[in-house]
Symmetry: C2
Subunit: 510 residues, 2 copies
């Protein structure tokens, strides 16, 4: 009998907090399942009731979380928690829940309801206006969104930059000023690389643009992600329109994908990407199950894992050397006469293009940084919504040397600003790219054998290193804390630039 524990008055209070949090977590898991089902198997006419069910469960879990009783439990627990080592499970739980709680209660319920309703209407308007290339009809809506976004930030006074609270929602602890400096430097370094590549003969990806039957594509992708270490005992893979990863518990972390039969580059790399997100969640310590720590810590860090597996591993020469012969065996008619080098160049084709989501790993960041800069300009009042479309075209010409023919493929291409706030929506994508290389270089330093192992189809050393250093901790550390812990410093550009220069320098003889 654990006498000390039984006498500890904190034990019961902590237990009550955990019971409440677990109930909220269960509601959240059910909500995630409602979403997953909606995106995979739900019959068309289930949509109306599903929207209501999602709204009800989200509201119930929100109501339970902002209950003042949670605040009181935290008040009681904090003096005790502060005496515990910083990274014990319980001290971390109390610290992270306090942060979430303060965030949740500072936003008035009425405001949130109003903004949600506006976002839903805005999304509908965008879905109609984008195909019609009709920015004019969206302008007043987007002006209102900008207004809501500023109000939202103002519920968190004391910020350095008005975007900081909005960035905190996705990447807690990342400041606009830091990101701006990082991105400015990245843009300077990237532009000449993109320019140099654009002066070369474009890579030929015709080998990917044949017909590859769906069943074999799915089978191969499943084999690959299983070999990387995604655990199908604790997950599964289904088809959807817009691939995503979702989690119902640490024992049930699912990925989704889509297949284009006429383009081999879609399904496989999307599966590796979502598999990267999923391995992060599957790697969280069992002891954190059912509580708010059992989740990845921030958008950028999560993206760093999907990109690490998708690009640094999945599009590497070593990975290709191992898997390409298997792919050729699966698609002999299409690939038997395509040399590995041709395939490798095809999957790493760099090309300046209009659409962010179709972009290669080099130019992708230019798309993101453009959006990030506009978010800051809009929030600061330096740029008006009415001037945004033209500003977009101008900046795009500057960064890409080309101009979109219309707003549909310009400012209207992404859903983000039309389904949520302006601010904090995009930086995670590029932070993820930068961090993926930073973490990978740390892993290589600890285990230089990793790239030889990849060439043998072995991924355990890398995955184990990532699990020990990143995955297992869940949300125990903030993004900046975890980066510091793993790399000994803040987010840094050098490994990423070195990675790009090494890989694309060789590919394009720069």
């Amino acid at each position: 009998m654990d006498k000390g524990r039984r006498e500890d008055p904190m034990h019961d209070i902590l237990q009550e907090l955990k019971t409440r949090l677990q109930e909220i977590n269960d509601l959240g898991s059910a909500t995630s399942l409602l979403h997953w089902d909606q995106a995979t198997y739900m019959p068309p006419k289930g949509a109306a009731a599903r929207a209501r069910q999602l709204a009800t469960l989200s509201r119930l879990s929100q109501e339970k979380f902002v209950d003042p009783a949670i605040g009181k439990l935290l008040d009681q627990l904090e003096p005790w928690a502060e005496e515990q080592p910083y990274d014990t499970d319980d001290a971390s739980l109390i610290r992270v829940v306090r942060r979430d709680y303060e965030e949740a209660i500072k936003i008035p319920t009425a405001f949130m309801a109003e903004f949600s309703e506006h976002s839903a209407l805005s999304y509908q308007a965008w879905a109609k206006a984008r195909p019609e290339n009709d920015f004019a009809s969206l302008q007043p809506i987007l002006e209102k969104t900008l207004d809501y976004s500023r109000q939202l930030a103002d519920f968190f006074p004391g910020y350095e930059h008005i975007a900081d609270p909005l960035i905190d929602f996705a990447d807690y602890g990342m400041k606009a000023s830091d990101v701006r400096v990082l991105f400015g430097e990245l843009r300077q370094q990237l532009s000449p690389i993109v320019q140099a590549i654009s002066e070369q003969a474009p890579a030929d990806d015709a080998c990917l643009r044949q017909v590859f039957p769906e069943a074999e594509q799915l089978q191969f992708s499943e084999e690959v992600v299983r070999q990387l270490g995604y655990d199908f005992q604790r997950g599964r893979m289904d088809k959807t329109h817009h691939p995503f990863m979702t989690k119902f518990s640490l024992g049930d972390v699912r990925i989704t994908t889509r297949v284009k039969e006429e383009f081999l580059g879609e399904c496989l790399y999307s599966v590796i990407h979502e598999g990267g997100h999923a391995m992060y969640e599957q790697g969280i310590r069992r002891e954190l199950e059912g509580l708010p720590l059992a989740s990845g810590t921030g958008a950028g860090l999560h993206e760093s894992q999907s990109r690490l597996w998708e690009n640094i591993v999945g599009r590497s020469r070593a990975f290709t050397e191992y898997f390409y012969p298997r792919l050729q065996a699966l698609f002999p008619a299409q690939l038997k006469d395509v040399p590995l080098e041709t395939y490798y160049r095809a999957i790493n084709k760099v090309e300046r293009s209009l659409i962010r989501t179709d972009a290669d790993e080099v130019t992708y960041n230019l798309h993101v940084m453009l959006r990030f800069d506009f978010e800051l300009d809009l929030l600061e009042g330096k740029l008006a919504i009415k001037d945004l479309p033209e500003a977009w075209h101008a900046r795009f010409a500057e960064d890409f040397g080309m101009r979109a023919p219309d707003d549909r493929d310009g400012v209207l291409q992404d859903v983000h600003w039309f389904a949520g706030q302006i601010g904090g929506a995009f930086q995670g994508y590029t932070l993820g790219n930068v961090l993926s290389a930073q973490f990978y270089s740390q892993a290589l330093e600890a285990h230089p054998e990793i790239s030889d192992q990849i060439r043998q189809g072995q991924f355990d050393t890398l995955r184990t290193w990532l699990t020990e250093n990143i995955y297992q901790h869940g949300r125990k550390y903030t993004e900046p804390e975890l980066i510091e812990r793993v790399t000994g410093g803040p987010v840094a550009l050098e490994p990423y630039i070195a990675y790009l220069k090494g890989k694309y320098g060789e590919l394009y003889q720069l």
Copy 2:
């Protein structure tokens, strides 16, 4: 503007009740989705957290329903509702919710929690003891279950028979005494039929026991159920271990099935059965969506629809004449030399056998009635749990002329008593069979052309009649009310006996 309505003070109160009920309904739908997913796609290691999520959501929805605020709203609404026509949507809603509410609040929460926990342990013990043929280890558990079952009934004092409150949970308004009389008569009439058939040469179902690949079986079953009228825009079909129907909204009513490649009789008739349940739910009036009326009214009535479509339609000569040539075309190697008559006899093979769930439509009822009688005897104290295994063997010998080799295929074969109360668990299956014939004869009386239409593969007249008379009403009427409304009297045996005598008299030249 609807001035009258705005001034009606009842409008707001009714609206508040509906809002609360809809929230409870949404929690229930999410719970059903958690169940469906568990039985279809959930990865093995998702089970532990899923059990907790299910428990949490069930508890939350129960808590919200027994909220005294619901009772107060009902108190306020009832005087008004009583002035409305009996079967208006609102009056029916208030009447049915009052009944559910009184049932829910009469069972103390602590009792329910204790009994649930006992049931969970009992299920685990049964799952272990059944393969080991170990009744002894289950005896004390089952004694406790009987005790809980009596306590449960006693929360509803004033009953005529102690089983009545337990029967009410499944088949509200059906009394043990009525069911006993009905079943006694049925047993008397069935026994000679079974006896006469058993004296004939047994039907040969070898044609069903070849290898039929899964994909084609699923494809054919889907075609059939679609043609019967199951709407795939508002549903879907997936594989599972123990087929069931489930509903998340009137726009999302799903069926599940299983396939035995070495037995053609499993998948198809199981799909028609679940399709029957599902067409009932899909046929409920849209106006009742999201509220407690939007559901079938009672176990027996629900089963009457699955059995009507599965047996009276699906195993009829007319149905077989239409679909069998299609089945032959799909499985030429297996069926092209099998005459229709052979197939028809095979799917209607009657045989005394040990296991209820494998039984044909004639002997099935003997299994059910045996269990129903034991439930009454146990609850009345006429039979002790310790004497149940031997009593089972004795009664089985009497009804079937054979004896199970052990308790595994005797008293331990069904999960029901090991996962819930003793009482009310079985009568719905046979009530369903009886009612299926009673309703079908009414439909034929109104539309004598129905059997010719079935022979043409047309099912609209029948389904429309069922929708208008039964499906659309949901739970607006109790089972006895609806039977009276449709047939002009109470549940009656004659149509069912006439159906069996006609069909099996012809098949076995009785």
